[in-house]
Symmetry: D3
Amino acid sequence: MSKAPISRFSTPEIADLPEDIRTRILAVQEKSGFVPNVFLVLARRPDEFRAFFAYHDALMDKPGKLTKAEREMIVVATSNANQCQYCVVAHGAILRIRAKDPLIADQVAINYRKADITDRQKAMLDFAMTVAFEAYAVDDADLAQLRSHGFSEEDAWDIAAIAAFFGMSNRLANVTNMRPNDEFYTMGRT
Amino acid sequence: MSKAPISRFSTPEIADLPEDIRTRILAVQEKSGFVPNVFLVLARRPDEFRAFFAYHDALMDKPGKLTKAEREMIVVATSNANQCQYCVVAHGAILRIRAKDPLIADQVAINYRKADITDRQKAMLDFAMTVAFEAYAVDDADLAQLRSHGFSEEDAWDIAAIAAFFGMSNRLANVTNMRPNDEFYTMGRT
Amino acid sequence: MSKAPISRFSTPEIADLPEDIRTRILAVQEKSGFVPNVFLVLARRPDEFRAFFAYHDALMDKPGKLTKAEREMIVVATSNANQCQYCVVAHGAILRIRAKDPLIADQVAINYRKADITDRQKAMLDFAMTVAFEAYAVDDADLAQLRSHGFSEEDAWDIAAIAAFFGMSNRLANVTNMRPNDEFYTMGRT
Amino acid sequence: MSKAPISRFSTPEIADLPEDIRTRILAVQEKSGFVPNVFLVLARRPDEFRAFFAYHDALMDKPGKLTKAEREMIVVATSNANQCQYCVVAHGAILRIRAKDPLIADQVAINYRKADITDRQKAMLDFAMTVAFEAYAVDDADLAQLRSHGFSEEDAWDIAAIAAFFGMSNRLANVTNMRPNDEFYTMGRT
Amino acid sequence: MSKAPISRFSTPEIADLPEDIRTRILAVQEKSGFVPNVFLVLARRPDEFRAFFAYHDALMDKPGKLTKAEREMIVVATSNANQCQYCVVAHGAILRIRAKDPLIADQVAINYRKADITDRQKAMLDFAMTVAFEAYAVDDADLAQLRSHGFSEEDAWDIAAIAAFFGMSNRLANVTNMRPNDEFYTMGRT
Amino acid sequence: MSKAPISRFSTPEIADLPEDIRTRILAVQEKSGFVPNVFLVLARRPDEFRAFFAYHDALMDKPGKLTKAEREMIVVATSNANQCQYCVVAHGAILRIRAKDPLIADQVAINYRKADITDRQKAMLDFAMTVAFEAYAVDDADLAQLRSHGFSEEDAWDIAAIAAFFGMSNRLANVTNMRPNDEFYTMGRT
């Protein structure tokens, strides 16, 4: 079986991209050893690319009480529920690395209720799933439940915003048939 | 019954906002006569605010084959399915104005299949709803269906990206309990 | 875009209708200034017309502890969940008038949990939605919840009967493609 | 296990009922040998009782191309999908009698797709189920599908109206905990 | 309407079956007076037949705190939710006989929440339905709920295993279009 | 975070097991280098254990036109949809080994529609998912669709039986909180 292309839509050549986008992509390549396909697939639309990664960085790469591993848990749990291959495979790799735990990503993706995570983290993921699938019903009781696990109002916003942002990302990846790079599958597994 | 506040979370004073955000908000106020609450609610997080509106503008305020009214139809149809009060009321107003049609927003929100729109527009909204609720199943047949109505690959991307972006926006508005400004309810109705 | 007809099925001439039905329709026209399309669409079947409006009046135009505005809230909330264009637009107008509130109908239709209504009214609508979508699971706990908000056994029957009757009405309107009269869209908005 | 009462709500004494209602109930008792509980449960509200049975008779006891057995099939299939004990048991009995077939009611209730009925009847029930669960999506293709099986526009209305009316009835029976009379269980089985 | 065959797939002649399977089938025929179709339909695959009935017997014909009638309640309630004609009709007959109650099977099948069974049995069926439709969410609270009704850990396993096994059986019966024998419909009704 | 135990229920000591079960378990341990937890968790019930593995072997370890890798694809795709951690992790490992493809298991689990598999295999998985979630609606068109991809009637039975059997297995694993052995996560990844 030959491999599927990285996107249902054509992708630009890196050399043809606007300077800032090319620079960002080359920096990632330098750091990771490869270019994650999300950069190539979204680069087809430079303005959307810039907004997407600015939003991503504002949510995932900032200080705050949620650890980086916890943010990735939110991505992995909601992305599998949305059946997003790219997001589960790529962020599963990042989660394994951030959490220094080779098992956690598969556990959280398939059924976070049975993962080796704390009750506080399960409450975080319960809320993230509610945001992903029933945001219309979020009410004060949900916020109180988070508070009972020590989450502040800022944390609640972070959880919700990450679940919402990756809900968008999951849909884009599914519509474009975005292919996970082979490298992600084994990262952080040993 | 007293009115609910504009957000479940506290909102900043305009005077305390970073210069670029304050400027944008004041420009909107100047143009519209009021500040749509989404600006105040999201301004609590300046970096996310900037990315959100950059993304919004990249999708909604650019040239392309989809008319501005058609883009708003996508927002209105998917937002009612997501039960997002702010997005239906605010973008319903914009849709009425863009389409110069006082009836269209309510029709599209409640059941676009029965709205006074073209078959091509219904196909556009069918695809948008698939992206919103079953993006995992999007396949070549969906794209072919769009093509049969004259939509290009670029148009398909636009429809999907708008549905995905407002899926995020709907979730943020529902989690924050974002209140639509009273002004929106009657705009464009006469 | 030309307007859709008022029904997928042919509708009778008023002059050809049985006396009692013609009289009722002309009385409504006299009072409202127009004939709401539901009268014309259902008049195709005189016996069903008579039963439908007798039932409607028994539930909506009678004394009881639920206010007329509250009864319309039930109609509007369940009808949007059933995606019934006619019922949301027509009863939204009536709700605005009964409640003397130009915003309430859109709020209740899109997401009643975030409307400017009382907690008691939200409990009423929670029960109405359970009747509309999960009546098989209604149990003593639901009735107790209503009682805790001051609703009597009679009120519970009223809420359930209105939700059930308009569930029928929503289905008839959707199957017939019943078109809301243009007049309803702006009634009670100012 | 003692038997549950016939309704969650109190039911009136037959002797205390308005003349027309008492007469109707006694006539049914005369004919059937017992009073079906739906008469007693709904008699608590005389105006609603009158409208309910007027509507019922207009749909179920009139001439038309659908046979009486076919109308009962619609009731039985949709009522089991709505988990309505009273309606499946009572109308199952009527269906067995009308169709002179002791097996048909259970087959149609549990999975009509596998019942000993004609393809035309399966198409009728497919449409009835769409009306019961997705009326918002009914479109010209559904009507064309019915036509391809020989159903007229009048038949389509009948199928839809029966599915819609019993959708209301199912909800009322579930909310009132309406108990099927023991007599229904075995009627028409031999 | 002619009757449907007992399976969508061809079924073997009893005489051609392996000795042990033929012996079991003849013993059932001797005892019941007819061969339940599940034996003929599954005999097409001797190894699967042997495993299926070994599993069935291990769950249904053994000592334990759940009565045989209670085990059949689990089968009947979950099988109707899975729309399995064979399982509801055949096990409904067995339930009537085991419980010595001509009404119970139809009640439990259509809506067990309103059946003439104990609260403890309703809790048992609530758990069985959770296993059938949301097993991924089973947690300690479900087990505690069972314990509060006097169910042991062994009982919990039994309920879950029966719901899971008949979930498999329901799927096999639906895919094969397994036809219930006519005899089952009236067994235990008088 | 300490690791969860291998089951919510207590598990027997291997030394205490009946001879045939102990022998099977030791043989697996010899071959694999560890005892997959499913053997220990299910051994609590020897008769059910024997039937479970007899059924498993009859479906998974026999000759037939479906390759062993294809059978594992069915397990992996349906098990992730059922959120079964044990089954996805353990059978994902087996799938990688059988298919000699380190990427295939994650692809098939998360969204088989986008996996590097043939159209024929996607049709096989479409049917397996229908069996897992809508078996009541399986009809001749589903079988015809399989035939158009070269699947025989025997193959259809195999696909359906595997999906049904692992639907049972998924439910048992979720109810028991069956923990995947750490060894499975990395098997076949390089």
